[in-house]
Amino acid sequence: MFDIKLSESGEVVLSGRFDAAQVEKAKAVLDRLTVTTSVDFKDLIYVSSAGLGVLMATQKRLSEKGQKLKLKNVTGHIRDIFRIARFDLIFEIE
């Protein structure tokens, strides 16, 4: 079960499994972002390249306006996937 929420403080919170079937659900939230936003991965247990693609597309769109996504609590095998995909080059990972 995947969930994505925009908290009252303006932070995006991900949880569950972010697979290819969840792309539209994620885009419905991420496409509304217009300013620099933190994305909390604390409760995310799985992400595939489909999820990485949505995050990358959002980062590209925001960067054109001088804004960005900042990723936090990226741990375990998700951090390994980010490292292999060289997402450290295109995201600020706290």
């Binding site: 499994r17 697979d19 290819a20 079937a21 799985y46 595939s48 390249s49 489909a50 990485l52 693609g53 990358m56 597309a57 980062q59 590209k60 960067s63 095998h77 996937i81 292999i84 995909a85 060289r86 080059l89 295109i90």
Partner: protein, 140 residues
């Protein structure tokens, strides 16, 4: 050699059933969480590629999981398709700037980096992809 095999409809909605199928097998075989996660990711990447490149094909996709010692062997079989040798795809340019980064090819790249062996065969218009991933038993 413990093994299970199942056919899945060529649709993103099948992913839930695919993950359930893998989950039941890795639990039964006491496969560690890291290896189980890699198997889920690899199967998703290959399965969604088969949907993407053969979307008009009405044949189901076959997934087989086997354990040999402390190696999990995954085989995906796709009938009546054009060849698509994932092992010959160029790597994505991961050093490119954000503006020039492309999402394409990342799933295959991750799969090849995370599994221990990958083989592609194409016989009689059938693609057969075989992956191997070493694992540890969660408990004895």
């Amino acid at each position: 050699m413990p093994s299970v095999q199942k056919q899945f409809k060529r649709h993103l909605d099948s992913l839930v059933k695919v993950f359930d199928f893998i989950g039941q097998f890795v639990t039964r075989e006491n496969i560690d969480d890291d290896a189980a996660g890699v198997v889920c990711l690899a199967v998703e990447e290959l399965f969604t590629n088969m949907i993407k490149y053969e979307g008009a094909n009405s044949n189901d996709i076959s997934l087989e999981l086997r354990v040999d010692g402390e190696v999990i062997i995954v085989q995906l079989v796709d009938h009546d398709v054009e060849p698509f040798d994932m092992t010959k795809r160029p790597d994505p340019d991961l050093g490119a700037s954000l503006k020039d980064r492309k999402p394409g090819g990342l799933g295959i790249f991750l799969t090849q980096k995370l599994v221990d062996d990958v083989r592609y065969q194409y016989l009689d218009r059938t693609s057969i992809i075989t992956l191997k991933k070493n694992f540890r038993r969660k408990y004895v």
